[in-house]
């Protein structure tokens, strides 16, 4: 070989190709279908994996370098936040309930995403998507861990999040986000990518992750804000992956289009139902609001999502049908959710409260068509009752939707005073749904959704009491026993914010930190 000859310098794209897909080979000792057993059964047809366009070109050396730099900065800030009692700088102690919701509802999902992308990153025969998925897998464990590490300090001082892993697997309302991700992970690898990579990361992330992080920034929570901002460049990569996946699948075969459309319809609705928790967080739990749920939906879904679906129209993909119903619900969603949690505050791991007069004014200005008419009178009544010592905690268990697992509290589209019920008979049993969309999802895959671990059913079946407790014993208090099973401490982790230890401690500690007492 003549070493003097100048070597041809590889372009970025070529270089990345030899660094990734060039490593792959066509096996001959084992069959493709044995090496990639999960790729055929969903009916998606891929003719040429080489047509995959790498959404980003990051080799491992660069990945380690960038990510380590971000980690160094992030942990330096977390350390400073902890050392300075940064938790005392938040707007007021009510804000910390948003953190509780996040660590017990969202952070465990980041972990599931990590495992899900490891699965997808092994399952696809195409080397391009495999590498992209594995990079997302390792990013997701980063997000799960940086969230736990940032919020760890709050747990030292405030209640409700001390056993969040245990809670996530058991507490009634946490089955909403949990079942969402379980649903995605138990689907085939292509549906997982459409559900999480596209619908969740691309279409809905601005409505989930961003409101929490912006909420943190607005409310002086430097710890949470920092991990959010640090995750931003990862999220940008995940979004480009989500979009590439959709385009790739759609371009490969026209027969893929109706399958993908069904998945987009399903996962937009599934995701939106999970966002119920975010909607109430934005409108009620942030002392300093960033924007209303309705505004967020209009900007991030109706405008941005609208443009996206216009772009996808050339493949034959249309705006998910549920968008119409969501538009009708946007004036009601957060209020109905908050009312529910206000009622069930005895059985949750965070505190609720009634908005004060200024906040009512804000809500009325953001929701001129619904708040004063429907929700203010309700809140006024509850406030009066609380002032008289009759703060009401519902101890009756609600009926849950078989698919989204939210209590059936939503109203008929366009009829906000009438509760919406749907039902289906399937194999001798009756199943209940909050909406036509959840019902449709069930009807498409009844074998899957009949398996759901519905917290209310489980309580009634006696599966949510601590071992050794006897429901037939005199004076058996089911709620108290369920709280023990959840490992929630009655009077500390639950009930109204006004009477909470969090509120008392925060006031005392802030005084200690700002005055000479």
């Amino acid at each position: 070989m003549d070493m003097q000859a100048a070597k041809k310098k590889l372009g970025l794209k070529e270089r990345y190709a030899v660094m990734t897909r060039g490593l792959d080979w066509t096996p001959s000792y084992q069959k493709m279908e044995d090496i990639y057993p999960y790729v055929a059964y969903e009916g998606i047809k891929i003719h040429d994996w080489d047509k995959w366009e790498d959404p980003f070109r990051l080799t491992m050396d660069a990945y380690w370098k960038y990510q380590a730099e971000k980690e160094r900065k992030l942990y330096a800030i977390i350390d400073a936040f902890n050392q300075n009692n940064g938790h005392l700088n938040v707007t007021d102690a009510r804000y910390i309930n948003a953190v509780k919701l996040f660590i017990s509802g969202i952070s465990p999902l980041e972990y599931v995403a990590h495992r899900g992308f490891a699965h997808a990153g092994r399952a696809f025969p195409g080397p391009g998507p495999r590498v992209a998925c594995l990079m997302q897998s390792i990013d997701e464990i980063r997000h799960a861990q940086t969230q736990v590490h940032s919020i760890s300090n709050y747990n030292k001082y405030y209640n409700g999040m001390h056993d969040f892993h245990h809670a996530h697997d058991r507490v009634w309302f946490l089955s909403v986000p949990k079942s969402f991700f379980d649903d995605a992970l138990t689907a085939g690898p292509f549906e997982f990518m459409v559900a999480i990579g596209f619908s969740f990361e691309y279409v809905l992330t601005n409505l989930l992750f961003v409101p929490f992080v912006s909420g943190a920034a607005y409310n002086g929570d430097m710890g949470t804000m920092t991990f959010g901002f640090s995750a931003q460049s990862d999220e940008a990569r995940h979004m480009t992956l989500g979009l590439e996946v959709i385009k790739f699948i759609l371009e490969q075969d026209p027969a893929n289009v109706p399958i993908v459309q069904r998945w987009i319809d399903k996962w937009t609705w599934r995701g939106y139902r999970v966002l119920t928790l975010v909607a109430m967080m934005m409108d009620y739990m942030l002392p300093k609001r960033t924007m209303s749920w309705k505004e967020a939906w209009e900007i991030y879904f109706e405008e941005n999502g609208g443009a996206l679906f216009k772009d996808l129209a050339r493949y034959g993909i249309t705006m998910p049908k549920c968008a119409g119903q969501i538009a009708l619900e946007k004036d009601h969603l957060s209020h109905q959710a908050w009312s529910t949690f206000y009622n069930y505050a005895a059985a949750a791991n965070f505190h609720t409260w009634m908005p004060d007069d200024d906040e009512m004014k804000w809500l009325a200005s953001k929701y001129p068509d619904s708040f004063d008419k429907l929700y203010r009178p309700r809140y006024r009544f509850w406030r009066e009752q609380a002032a008289k010592g009759n703060r009401f905690y519902s101890k009756t268990l609600p009926m849950l939707c078989q698919v989204c697992q939210i209590p059936m509290v939503f109203t008929e589209p366009g009829e906000p005073t009438k509760t919406c019920y749907r039902e289906v008979d399937y194999r001798d049993d009756k199943y209940h749904f909050c909406s036509d969309h959840c019902k449709k999802i069930f009807e498409d895959e009844p074998e899957k959704y009949t398996q759901a671990w519905l917290p209310v059913h489980q309580i009634y079946q006696g599966n949510c009491f601590p071992e050794g407790s006897d429901p037939t014993a005199e004076g058996f208090d089911p709620l108290a026993e369920v709280l023990k099973f959840y490992n929630l401490e009655h009077g500390r982790d639950n009930l109204d914010f006004e009477i909470s230890e969090d509120r008392k401690n925060f006031a005392e500690w802030r005084g200690q930190a700002t005055r000479n007492i």
Binding site: M3, K7, L10, V18, M19, G22, L23, W25, P27, Y29, Q30, I35, Y41, T59, M60, D61, W64, K65, A68, E69, L74, N84, N85, P108, R115, A118, R130, L134, M135, S137, I138, I141, A144, Q145, T146, V148, S152, N155, K156, Y157, M161, H162, D163, H165, H166, D169, R170, S175, K178, S179, D182, L185, G188, K448, Q451, A452, W453, N487, Q512, A513
Partner: protein, 331 residues
């Protein structure tokens, strides 16, 4: 001298999360490794069975023949959570980059004797495909294994193997060109020398037991390949013949193996110490995959070792047996 900076001190209500406190005691603060690892994986009340594997739960202890009372008995001695992991690798990457720069800027590749260069290209470059297989296998162990203590290091290991495949690609481009990569791939696909190893890798790609896969890939294959190729052939045999620049280009792999084997040994040790049953299963797997790996590596090692291949491979196998005995699995 000590100066006494003061901060407002507030007594915390608790030191860590309950799940950690149940394991280490409530009176201690937890490390970031512990908080980022223990019980991170969901444990109960899964909603649906995987449509891709309806016989199992989403996370299922029964995917493997290894039985553990507590899958969090496994501990990574490196205590890697994501932050610690990336910072360690970034540091190694700095060294690797400096080494590549050193060899490139001084034109050291051109000073390699032809014989050494050809040997290195013939031996090292097809190994990028082996590393690629290792990437896939560790992704599988991470996806289908049980418990974050066991699965977490596997995603790091998977990405490390991708990094190694990419370093090997760079070595190929530095000592040769794209045609060298193609030639190596052709050898990997067709030459008798490589078929045993390729068959080994493809056979591991269909393993369904994540712990057996861990053994076949991380314990047996890499347990022989790294000492043989990087420690013996490159750092020893070729360096003595003027191939030191190559040792600089592969320093990452040598250091990486020395580091990761601590985790691998700890994992074997914990599983073996759990029960006699585990120990038997492990010993069976290790013997079976060790013998296949040794046979597959023998023709490959002849590329550089010629007639000494048998003798040196036997030596490596003996060292491997001693290593396993130390990890609690005498073979």
């Amino acid at each position: 001298m000590q100066i006494d900076l003061r901060t407002v001190s507030i007594k915390p209500l608790r030191h860590t999360f309950d799940n950690i406190a149940r394991r280490i005691g409530a009176d201690k603060p937890a490390s970031r490794y512990q908080e980022g690892t223990l019980d991170m994986q969901q444990e109960a009340n899964y909603h649906y069975r995987p449509t891709w594997d309806p016989d199992h739960l989403i996370y299922d202890r029964d995917r493997t023949a290894i039985r553990m009372a507590d899958w969090y008995s496994f501990k990574d001695p490196r205590q890697y959570y994501y932050g610690a992991y990336t910072m360690a690798r970034a540091k190694q990457q700095d060294t690797a980059e400096a080494n590549f720069d050193f060899v490139e800027n001084r034109g050291l590749a051109a000073t390699l004797p032809d014989e050494i260069r050809d040997t290195v290209l013939a031996l090292l470059i097809p190994l990028r495909h082996v590393a690629w297989g290792a990437n896939m296998n560790n992704a599988a162990v991470c996806a289908y294994g049980y418990g974050t203590a066991f699965t977490q290091p596997c995603i790091y290991h998977a990405m490390d193997q991708l990094g190694i495949a990419q370093y090997l690609t760079r070595v190929g481009l530095l000592l040769g060109d794209v045609a060298s990569l193609d030639a190596a791939k052709q050898a990997w696909m067709e030459d008798d020398t490589w078929q045993g190893l390729r068959r080994y890798v493809e056979d591991t790609l269909v393993l369904r037991d994540p712990f057996e896969l861990f053994v076949a890939q991380n314990v047996a294959l890499d347990g022989l390949l790294y000492p043989l190729v990087y420690e013996t052939i490159i750092d020893d045999v070729l360096s003595a013949k003027g191939g030191t620049p190559v040792a600089m280009l592969t320093q990452f792999m040598t250091d990486w193996h020395a580091e990761t084997r601590k985790w691998i040994d700890a994992t074997v040790k914990t599983a073996a110490a759990e029960s006699a049953g585990n120990k038997t299963v492990l010993a069976d797997w290790i013997v079976q995959w060790r013998d296949r790996a040794a046979a597959a590596l023998l023709p490959v090692s002849r590329i550089a070792l010629g007639e000494r291949a048998d003798e040196l491979t036997t030596e490596i196998v003996q060292q491997f047996n001693a290593r396993m005995a130390k990890a609690g699995v005498p073979l």
